[in-house]
């Protein structure tokens, strides 16, 4: 079952914050976050394992609520380089390693 991301698109000014949500109908083992720039491969940002942890990567952090099967990606003080499409990917509770990607959230940061 494909996770659902919201919003579908975000437009920000440099320095503004954004939150991207990812929700699954199935029990999860882990959630991954990736960023893809146009014409390039997705790039791994972070992985969150069940346990409700929050992780950070520069000014990008994420949380995982295992009970609600939801994850959120937080982008603070956005920079132009943050523009791209953000995908969450979920691994089911069986932990087969197979990653199912959400439909993506397009983020555009303007000067």
């Amino acid at each position: 079952q494909q996770p659902v991301q919201s919003p579908q698109a975000v437009i920000l000014r440099e320095g503004e914050d954004a939150v991207i949500n990812c929700s699954s109908s199935k029990a999860l083992y882990s959630v991954h976050w990736y960023r893809q720039k146009h014409g390039e491969a997705p790039v791994f940002l972070m992985i969150l394992l069940k346990g409700g942890e929050q992780k950070g990567h520069e000014k990008i952090s994420a949380s995982f609520n295992e009970k609600k099967q939801q994850s959120s990606l937080y982008l603070t003080a956005s920079q132009l380089s943050y523009s791209g499409t953000y995908f969450c990917g979920t691994v089911g509770s069986g932990n087969t390693g197979k990653l199912i990607f959400g439909q993506g959230t397009t983020l555009q940061v303007k000067p």
Binding site: Q2, H32, P42, M46, L99, G104
Partner: protein, 110 residues
């Protein structure tokens, strides 16, 4: 930083022809995957490969598709008889923690 390498970067083929997409995963990774992305759409799982065999495949991965790791380094995806709807970007990935994706092969079936 270690990379996943894919060749060719772009392939144009006639409908019905066979294509082989090649990937060199990161050497100490054990799990390998093929995904595809139709232009502007989501990244779709095709197949996972572990210990020299398929561990899981999607409904997209029908009898026209096969994967091999012929020599312990290369990891190939073969499409036996291509269809127009096979046109997409195909990504190989290997995993230790997160996935590391290759730069992709853009397959165009005409």
């Amino acid at each position: 930083e270690p990379e996943v390498t894919q060749t060719p970067s772009h392939q144009v083929t006639q409908m019905g022809q066979e294509v082989i997409l090649r990937c060199v995963p990161i050497s100490n990774h054990l799990y390998f995957y093929w995904y595809r992305q139709i232009l502007g759409q989501k990244v779709e799982f095709l197949v996972s490969f572990y210990n020299n065999e398929i561990s899981e495949k999607s409904e997209i991965f029908d009898d026209q598709f096969s994967v091999e790791r012929p020599d312990g380094s290369n990891f190939t995806l073969k499409i036996r008889s291509t269809k127009l709807e096979d046109s997409a970007m195909y990504f190989c990935a290997s995993q230790s923690y997160g996935y590391t994706f290759g730069s992709g092969t853009r397959l165009t079936v005409v």
